[in-house]
């Protein structure tokens, strides 16, 4: 085994750095949670996304602390002093260390692949008790329900799994209600879909998330999540109103 130079074998350095990394990780973790307040929280599909996002933040906090604390410590402790003209320690590397910092990240990759897979399943699956079709076109949205009701706003009952099918009439758009979490593109020539189970009552904004030309920035529609009775009442009123329209034509 290669003899380690003094700076590598001196335990004192590593104890100090280890303690600092631990402190900085915790502080940074809370800092990141505060400055990256992920908005997804109003649907069943948003929950796993938020959970995984925050798990990542802790890993980021740790890795950032690890690199930065080591770096700053080295910059301070190993800086050249006045009138010191010597060179650094001659030390070309260490295979054991290289293997460790290849294998440990590899294990993390396996773990995160597994977690990522489970989260992806949770964030993209759901039932189809309610069905809505959303059509995107430059630069607006239109919604229709299987019973023929059409609407300029999207209304969904709370806590009911909804299947939203998506179609684009001209160019690619993307369906995104930030509070609900996932987004999905609308592609000309294809039908795509998104499972959402809204869990919070309220009014949200659906926004197009794929640059689609001049007024992309303002391509939005109102989305209302209401209690089930209110949803039924709204649907009945719409049915009546639209039958009326057909009759009077």
């Amino acid at each position: 085994m290669l003899k380690l130079p003094q700076s590598y074998s001196d335990r004192k350095h590593f104890l100090i750095v280890g303690a600092l990394v631990a402190i900085v990780t915790v502080a940074l973790g809370f800092f990141l949670l505060a400055i990256l307040p992920i908005k997804a929280q109003a649907s069943m599909q948003a929950e796993p996304i938020k959970w995984l996002f925050q798990l990542h933040l802790w890993l980021i906090a740790f890795l950032f602390a690890l690199v930065v604390v080591f770096m700053l410590y080295a910059l301070f402790v190993f800086r050249r002093r006045k009138n010191d003209d010597s060179e650094g320690e001659h030390f070309e590397g260490n295979t054991a260390l290289e293997v460790i910092w290849t294998v440990v990240p590899l294990v993390l990759v396996v773990i995160f692949s597994f977690i990522g897979l489970r989260t992806l399943q949770d964030a993209t699956s759901g039932g189809d008790e309610v069905q809505v079709k959303a059509e995107g076109f430059q630069w607006s949205w239109a919604f229709s329900y299987p019973n023929g009701v059409t609407s300029a706003e999207m209304v969904l009952p709370v806590n009911k799994p909804a299947l939203i099918t998506l179609q684009a009439r001209d160019v690619i758009h993307s369906f995104w209600v930030a509070e609900w979490g996932p987004k999905q593109d609308l592609v000309p020539g294809m039908t795509t879909s998104l499972h959402i189970t809204p869990t919070k009552v309220g009014e949200f904004q659906l926004k197009c998330a794929e640059l689609c030309g001049l007024s992309h920035w303002s391509m939005a529609a109102t989305v209302r999540v209401v209690p089930e009775e209110e949803y039924t009442a709204w649907m009945d009123a719409k049915l009546a109103e639209q039958n009326l329209q057909t009759a009077s034509r």
């Binding site: 908005k39 290849t102 989260t119 001209d170 160019v171 020539g189 939005a220």
Partner: protein
């Protein structure tokens, strides 16, 4: 001296002459075929192709080759053009790799300023909610131009680093194919002119140019497609030249694992450029044909029964990202190479784990070919593909980690000093860390379904590109400045530049990411006050201006120090690398005698060791 004797001027005249001739030819052809005279797509495309050729003829980038076809031999010309001031050689075709390297680097810096100014324009608009002075159409054009001009500036900057340094670092007199080298530089210039002309017509798809949107807008698109195709051709030819140079022209004793580490990074970069670039060329060519000739590659077309007998929009995204993901490693690998090159010099200590660092560049390049689908998690491709691309993308983190840990190993136990290039190297590590660590969170597909097309992604890729290219590029400029000019830059101004730019950049990245998690979409001309991101947006804009100002300080420093800087001597950094063993500025033929390699490149601190031996000369 007549202005017309400058190659650049003749090239521009050739460009506009070619444009007119090309347009006329298309119009005449159309009339001969019984079509209407004017079709803007066809006429412009014909005109621009001919304009680019006109430029190359005018500037003289093909003169020698054309003479060869007529059996006339042309010796390789050395030195400044006869009877003209020395500076004129930078404005015309010159075969010396050092001149070409400077041409690349300065053009890159120029485009960085242009692309950056476009960003300042639309950042000003975004400083507050409400549309104030940029109409959405103009906003989209500025946004889209910002991206491609900045990317072109990076490709040229990378070309500058590679062309200037690779032959010097391997002790070669020049590149393997000097004429090809000059040609590969000069085709960028008409491409850039074409790209800038596109602004007059506008285009609004962002740099990604997804169809069907990119099939609909104004004729500015054709100019973008042609410009990028041409810049891509430059990448392919330049990288071929670099690969051959590094494989065939190393001196005695320089095995691959004894090359300066930057050469490994350039080798990995060149492999990507040589192979992946074809895909974006093809993709943009297909868009161009679809627009001008109506060939249905990407846009669905329906028959009477409603069946799609046309194209598939998602196909374009695969072609585009098959280049554009690996391209991000073209942007950063050379920069990471600069970091690995500079750290040992300023730590006075060997590069930790040389072989691992060298091979990690190759590993990043190769894994980078398999991850393009992470840009398409929401695109509507088969859902199981998300899993494939999630796993392959996470794997990139492993070789990237090796680099970080090896850098720490290099610093540990050194005798660190902190002149401006070292500061920028450390700044680069800190910024690239922010960018790199925000990568995996985008790679686990579920989180990306939220983050995709938000400002979080904007924060991520600016941090990777600044940490991986811009900071190291500035480090490289300060570091090799004395070798290029023979004089030192001003250290105080250099440090001022650093201390403005680095905190400014940290702030900008974090604020962009915050805006993204709060629901701010990217590429929007205005945003909803209800999001509550005004303060964050204002911070981003202010930070952007601070960064821009600091870059102006650097440019001022570079210009003035060339005249008044203190003389630097051969080797102000006490580096072991070959280029520092010869006079500054480097003589026309670089090495008076061939060098040979007699040791390891980074054996700082090993008494009595040396890397380079100059044949015949006694000094070391």
């Amino acid at each position: 001296m007549r202005i017309g004797s400058l190659g650049l001027v003749r090239g521009l005249v050739g460009y506009f002459a070619g444009l007119i001739v090309g347009m006329a030819v298309v119009v005449i052809l159309r009339l001969a075929l019984g079509m209407s005279a004017w079709d803007q797509e066809a006429v412009w495309v014909g005109g621009l192709i001919s304009a680019i050729i006109g430029f190359l003829l005018g500037v003289g980038a093909m003169s020698d080759w054309l003479k060869w076809t007529r059996g006339i031999e042309t010796p390789l010309h050395h030195g400044p053009p006869a009877g003209k001031p020395a500076w004129t050689r930078y404005f015309g075709v010159d075969y010396n790799h050092k001149v070409i390297g400077i041409q690349y680097g300065v053009t890159g810096l120029f485009l960085l300023v242009v692309g950056g100014s476009f960003a300042l324009v639309f950042r000003t608009e975004l400083a507050d909610t409400g549309i104030s002075f940029l109409q959405p159409g103009t906003y989209n054009t500025f946004l889209s131009m910002h991206a491609w001009v900045a990317l072109a500036s990076i490709l040229l900057g990378v070309g500058g680093i590679a062309n200037y340094l690779v032959p010097l670092m391997i002790g070669a007199e020049d590149m393997a194919f000097p004429r090809l080298n000059a040609f590969a530089y000069w085709i960028n210039v008409p491409a850039i002119v074409t790209l800038l002309i596109s602004m007059l017509f506008g285009w609004d798809s962002g740099w990604t140019a997804y169809p069907p949107l990119s099939l609909l807008g104004p004729v500015g698109y054709q100019m973008v497609f042609l410009a990028i195709f041409t810049i891509g051709l430059s990448s392919i030819l330049g990288s071929l030249n670099l690969i051959v140079t590094m494989l065939m022209m190393r001196p005695k004793g320089m095995t691959l694992f004894r090359m300066p580490i930057l050469c490994w990074a350039i080798l990995a970069t060149s492999i990507i450029q040589l192979t992946a670039t074809q895909l974006i060329g093809q993709a943009f060519l297909m868009l161009s044909f679809e627009r001008s000739l109506g060939m249905p590659f990407f846009k669905p077309i329906y028959d009477a029964a409603g069946v799609n007998i046309g194209g598939q929009p998602i196909l374009f995204q695969h072609l585009f990202w098959f280049y554009s993901h690996p391209a991000v490693y073209v942007f950063v690998l050379p920069g990471l190479g600069v970091i690995s090159e500079l750290l040992p010099v300023f730590a006075r200590k060997p590069l930790f784990g040389y072989r691992w660092v060298a091979l990690s560049s190759l590993a990043i390049a190769l894994v980078g070919f398999l991850v393009w689908g992470h840009h398409m998690f929401t695109s509507g491709y088969q859902p199981y593909l998300r899993v494939v691309f999630m796993i392959s993308t996470l794997l990139v983190a492993v070789p990237t980690g090796v680099k970080f840990f090896s850098w720490l190993g290099t610093l540990w136990g050194g005798r660190l000093i902190f002149p401006t290039p070292m500061l920028f190297t450390l700044g680069a590590i800190s910024v690239f860390l922010i960018g790199g660590l925000s990568g995996p969170i985008l790679a686990t597909a579920a989180t990306d379904l939220f983050l995709h097309d938000t400002y979080f992604v904007v924060g991520h890729f600016h941090a990777t590109i600044f940490g991986g290219f811009v900071f190291p590029f500035f480090a490289a400029i300060y570091y090799w400045y004395p070798k290029i000019t023979g004089r030192m830059y001003n250290e105080t101004l250099g440090k001022l530049h650093f201390w403005l730019m680095t905190p400014g950049f940290w702030l900008m990245s974090l604020a962009q990411m915050t805006a993204g998690t709060m629901g701010m979409r990217r590429r929007i001309a205005d945003y909803d006050p209800a999001l509550g991101v005004q303060n964050v947006q204002l911070l981003v804009t202010i930070a952007g201006f601070v960064i821009a100002f600091s870059i102006l300080i650097m440019i001022y420093n570079l210009f003035t120090s060339a005249e008044i800087g203190v003389l630097a001597g051969n080797n102000p950094w006490r580096s072991r690398s070959p280029e520092w063993q010869i006079p500054s500025p480097v003589p026309e033929h670089s090495y008076a005698r061939p060098i040979s390699i007699v040791g390891e490149p980074y054996d700082y601190g090993l008494a009595g060791s040396s890397y380079v031996a100059m044949a015949g000369a006694g000094d070391d």
